[in-house]
C-alpha cells in the first residue's frame, strides 16, 4: 500500500499499452471485414450440399466453388427441390460445386448488408437465390448483379409467360431498366387477398363476390368480425399487418398506396424521389388505420396476421400475401383448400386500379464473383432452366411459378384456388413493378414499416409517421451516389 511508482514504471506501462493498441489496431484493421461476415453467418442455418455422384463426372479443369445464398426459408418442399437440383448439378460438375445456404433469420436489409460486406471482404456469393426480389432491386441498383448472357435470357423468357417478363427487370446503377434474373425459383411474391369462402357463406356474404374496393373490404370485414361476450375479438374480419419485420409491414402496405395512385419511388432526371408523405399514401395509411380503430375489424392485441389465423379461422381475410399462401394451405391443412378465395388488393377504383405486387423469386449472379465463378454460375442457371427442373420446382410440389408449362398444367390449370389467383394476377389494372423500383427500396420499406407501427398504435398521427419516413429515407439517400431531392 502506498508504494511509490517510478517514472520508469510509468513509461513501461505506457509503452506496453501503446504497443498493444498499435498491434491491436493493426490486427483490427486487417481482420475487421472478415469478422463482421463471420458473425452474421453464426445466425444462419447452413445446408451444404454434398454430392452423390449419379452421373460420370467429366475430368475437372479448375475447381470453382459457387456459394449460393438464399434469403428466407421457404417451404420444406421448395427447399428440398432446390437442394436436389444443386445436388444433381454438383454430381455432374465436380469442377463447379454449388454450396447452397439458407439464411432464414436475416431481414432483407441485413441480407443486403451481408452481401455488401462479403463483397468488400472479397468473398461474395456467386448466386443469389431469392424468395424476395426486393433485395435484388437494391443490389442491382448498387452494382452487385451481373447481366445475364443473351442465351440465358432467351431461355428464361421463352419458358415464362410473357405477362411476367417485366418482372425480370431491375434498375442498373446508371438508372437504366435491365433484366438481371436468370431463373425463376420459388414462384411469385404476388400480393393478393385470400378470403375464407365458408365464413363468407356463414355470415350471409356471397362467396363468389369478394371485396375489390376499399368500401367493399370495410363492409365484408365488418360482417365477418366476431367477438366473445366480453367484447374481446375471437375472429378478425381482416388483418392489418403491424408487427414482425418492419420491412414486411411497409411492403404489405405499399399495394394499397399504389392502388390509390402513389408512385412510392420515382426518378426524374438523375435524381430519385419519393411521394411517401403525399396524399395517395396518406389516404391509404389512414384507410388501414380506420380499419383498426374506426371500423374495428382487427384488434392490435389480437394475433390475426399470417397463415395460421386464416387456417384456424381466427381471421377471415388475409393479405396481401404471396402465392405461397395456397401452397401452404395444401401442405398444412388441405381440407381448407376448397374454401380458399382469392381477390385483388382492394383499391378505391376496384380491380381497374388495383395493384398486384409482382415480385418474381429468381436466381441471379453476383457481379463481384470471379470470372470463372460467373461463367459456371450461368451454366448452372441454364441447367436450372431445363424442363425437368422447371417441373420439379413447380408442378411436382405445388409451387406456382409463372412458367407457361406450369400455368397450363395440373394442378394449376385445374385447382380452383390457383385459377382464381391467376385471374387476379392477370386482370389487375396497375401492376406494381416492384423489381423496377430503384435504390433505397429496402430502406424505404423498413423505415415506412417502423413508422406505420407507430401510427397504428396511435403513438403518432399517420401524417407524422409518413413525414418521418420521408425525412429518414431522404437522409439515407444522401449517403448514396443517387442523390434524392
Amino acid at each position: 500500500m502506498g508504494e511509490k511508482v517510478s517514472r520508469r514504471d510509468y513509461l513501461k506501462v505506457l509503452g506496453g499499452t501503446v504497443g498493444g493498441l498499435v498491434v491491436g489496431a493493426a490486427i483490427g484493421y486487417l481482420a475487421a471485414p472478415g469478422k463482421v461476415v463471420e458473425k452474421t453467418v453464426e445466425r444462419t442455418v447452413t445446408q451444404t450440399i454434398t454430392a452423390t455422384p449419379t452421373v460420370t463426372p467429366t475430368t475437372p479443369a479448375k475447381k470453382v466453388e459457387l456459394p449460393g445464398w438464399q434469403w428466407g426459408a421457404e417451404y420444406e418442399a421448395v427447399n428440398k427441390a432446390l437442394e436436389t437440383i444443386a445436388n444433381e448439378w454438383n454430381a455432374a460438375h465436380p469442377e463447379a460445386i454449388v454450396k447452397y445456404t439458407i439464411f432464414p433469420e436475416l431481414t432483407e436489409v441485413e441480407y443486403a448488408l451481408k452481401v455488401r460486406q462479403a463483397a468488400e471482404a472479397g468473398k461474395p456469393p456467386a448466386l443469389f437465390y431469392m424468395t424476395n426480389t426486393t433485395i435484388l432491386t437494391d443490389l442491382a441498383s448498387d452494382g452487385y448483379l451481373e447481366e445475364p448472357p443473351s442465351d440465358v435470357l432467351d431461355t428464361v423468357k421463352k419458358a415464362i409467360d410473357p405477362a411476367f417478363h417485366y418482372m425480370l427487370n431491375m434498375y442498373s446503377p446508371e438508372g437504366e431498366v435491365k433484366p438481371y434474373a436468370g431463373a425463376v425459383t420459388i414462384g411469385l411474391s404476388a400480393c393478393a387477398l385470400y378470403y375464407n369462402k365458408r365464413l363468407f357463406s356463414e355470415v350471409g356474404l356471397d362467396p363468389n363476390k369478394p371485396p375489390q374496393t376499399w368500401d367493399e373490404l370495410i363492409d365484408a370485414a365488418k360482417a365477418l368480425v366476431k367477438r366473445d361476450s366480453t367484447g374481446k375479438m375471437i375472429r378478425a374480419g381482416y388483418s392489418v399487418r403491424r408487427g414482425g419485420n418492419p420491412g414486411g409491414i411497409g411492403e404489405k402496405f405499399i399495394p394499397f398506396a399504389v392502388g390509390n395512385g402513389a408512385k412510392i419511388i420515382y426518378k426524374e432526371g438523375n435524381k430519385w424521389y419519393t411521394d411517401i408523405n403525399e396524399k395517395p399514401v396518406i389516404e391509404a395509411a389512414q384507410f388501414l388505420y380506420d380499419l383498426i380503430h374506426v371500423y374495428k375489424v382487427d384488434d392490435l392485441e389480437f394475433p390475426s396476421w399470417g397463415y395460421d389465423p386464416w387456417l384456424n379461422e381466427t381471421c377471415a381475410i388475409s393479405g396481401p400475401l404471396g402465392v405461397g399462401f395456397i401452397t401452404n394451405v395444401q401442405s398444412s391443412k388441405p381440407e381448407m383448400l376448397p374454401y380458399v378465395g382469392v381477390t385483388n388488393v382492394p383499391s378505391p377504383g376496384g380491380i381497374k386500379t388495383a395493384c398486384s405486387f409482382g415480385d418474381l423469386n429468381v436466381i441471379a449472379v453476383c457481379s463481384k464473383a470471379t470470372k470463372e465463378q460467373k461463367e459456371k454460375a450461368w451454366e448452372f442457371i441454364k441447367f436450372f432452366n431445363s424442363p425437368t427442373n422447371i417441373r420439379r420446382i413447380s408442378n411436382d410440389i405445388w409451387n406456382w411459378t409463372p412458367y407457361k408449362d406450369s400455368i397450363n398444367n395440373p394442378p394449376f390449370s385445374t385447382e380452383k384456388a390457383w385459377q382464381e389467383l391467376n385471374k387476379v394476377l392477370s386482370n389487375v389494372g396497375r401492376p406494381h413493378i416492384v423489381n423496377e423500383y430503384g435504390p433505397g427500396w429496402l430502406t424505404l420499406t423498413y423505415t415506412l414499416g417502423e413508422n406505420l407501427k407507430r401510427a397504428f398504435t396511435k403513438e403518432v398521427s399517420v401524417k407524422e409517421a409518413l413525414d418521418r419516413t420521408y425525412e429518414k429515407w431522404t437522409e439515407y439517400m444522401k449517403t448514396l451516389k443517387f442523390y434524392s431531392g
Partner: protein
C-alpha cells in the same frame, strides 16, 4: 535482472491487450468517428460535424427509448434483487435436497440461450385465448390478455421475462454469499436475542452488501445492453412500446441505414453505463 523481470509481465499481458484493443478500443474509436459522419455502413462516411448529435437529441423516439430503458432496467433490477435474496434465504439450508432442487430449477432459464428462452416465453404468453398462461388466467376468471401484443402490457411482460431469466443467477450468488457469512455473527445475534427478521435486517443484509453491489453492477450493465431477448419477443413493439436504446440503435443502423445517428445513440448508451458503473464502484470503495 530486475529490469527483465519487470518486462515479462507486460509480455504476458500484451496478447490480451492486443485482443482487447482490436475488439474493444478499435471499434470504440470507429464508433466515435462514425458519430460525426453521414454513413450507411457501406459507402464512405461523410463528415458532418455535430449534426447527428443534434438530430438524435431532438428525436422523440430516442428520448422515449431512453425512458423505456430506464424503466426496464431499474424495475427489473430492484425486483430481481429483492426476489433473489428472498429465494436465497428460503433455500440456503444446508443438506436440503428440496432447496437444492428449487435452486436448480430457478437457475435453468439463466443457462438457456437468449433466443431459446425468449421463444419459450413467446409460446407461454402467446396473445391468444389458447396459450398456456391465458388458459390459466381464464380458469381463474381473469380472462385472457394480449401480453406482448398489448402496448400497456408489453413492457411489464418483458420485465417479468428478464426477472424469470436472471433471478436464478442472482439467487446462486446470494446463496454463495450467505454461506460465506461466519457462524459467529448468527451466534452473536442469537445471544443478543435477535429475531429472524432482525438477523436479516442487521446482520445478513449489511454483510451481503458487496454481493448486492456485484449483482447491481452486472445486472445494470446487462440490462442496459439487453437486445436479443427483447428483439425476439417484440422487435421493439407493439408500436415502440418496448423499443429500448439497443433496439433503437439496431433499427437506426441496420434498418434505416443511418449508422452515424445510431453511433450517437450508442455513445450515449456507453456514457450512461460507464457513469453508473463508476458511481457504483466509488460507492463500494467508500464502503
Amino acid at each position: 535482472m530486475s529490469q527483465k523481470r519487470n518486462i515479462i509481465p507486460w509480455l504476458f499481458i500484451a496478447p490480451s491487450l492486443a485482443i482487447f484493443t482490436t475488439f474493444h478500443f478499435f471499434p470504440l474509436a470507429i464508433l466515435v468517428y462514425a458519430s460525426f459522419t453521414k454513413w450507411n455502413l457501406i459507402s464512405p462516411p461523410q463528415f458532418i460535424g455535430l449534426e447527428n448529435y443534434l438530430k438524435v437529441i431532438s428525436d422523440d423516439l430516442f428520448i422515449k427509448s431512453l425512458f423505456i430503458t430506464i424503466t426496464f432496467v431499474f424495475t427489473s433490477i430492484i425486483i430481481n434483487v429483492i426476489l433473489s435474496l428472498g429465494i436465497a434465504l428460503l433455500t440456503e439450508k444446508p443438506n436440503s435436497k428440496l432447496a437444492t432442487l428449487c435452486r436448480f430449477i430457478i437457475f435453468i432459464p439463466y443457462v438457456l440461450p437468449d433466443a431459446a428462452s425468449a421463444g419459450i416465453w413467446n409460446l407461454l404468453f402467446f396473445p391468444h385465448p389458447s396459450s398456456p398462461v391465458n388458459v390459466l388466467l381464464s380458469q381463474l376468471g381473469i380472462g385472457w390478455q394480449g401480453w406482448i401484443e398489448d402496448k400497456n402490457l408489453a413492457l411489464p411482460t418483458i420485465i417479468l421475462y428478464y426477472i424469470w431469466k436472471n433471478v436464478g443467477f442472482s439467487t446462486l450468488v446470494y446463496v454463495a454469499g450467505l454461506k460465506a457469512i461466519p457462524k459467529i455473527f448468527y451466534d452473536a445475534a442469537e445471544v443478543d436475542g435477535a429475531s429472524r427478521l432482525d438477523t436479516i435486517k442487521y446482520v445478513i443484509i449489511p454483510l451481503l452488501k458487496p454481493i448486492t453491489l456485484f449483482i447491481l453492477i452486472t445486472s445494470l450493465i446487462s440490462g442496459w445492453q439487453s437486445f436479443t431477448d427483447i428483439f425476439v419477443l417484440t422487435k421493439g413493439g407493439p408500436g415502440t412500446a418496448t423499443t429500448t436504446l439497443s433496439i433503437y440503435i439496431y433499427h437506426t443502423a441496420f434498418g434505416e441505414g443511418l449508422a452515424g445517428r445510431a453511433a450517437v445513440a450508442a455513445i450515449i448508451l456507453f456514457i450512461i453505463t460507464l457513469a453508473l458503473t463508476i458511481i457504483q464502484l466509488r460507492y463500494i470503495k467508500s464502503e
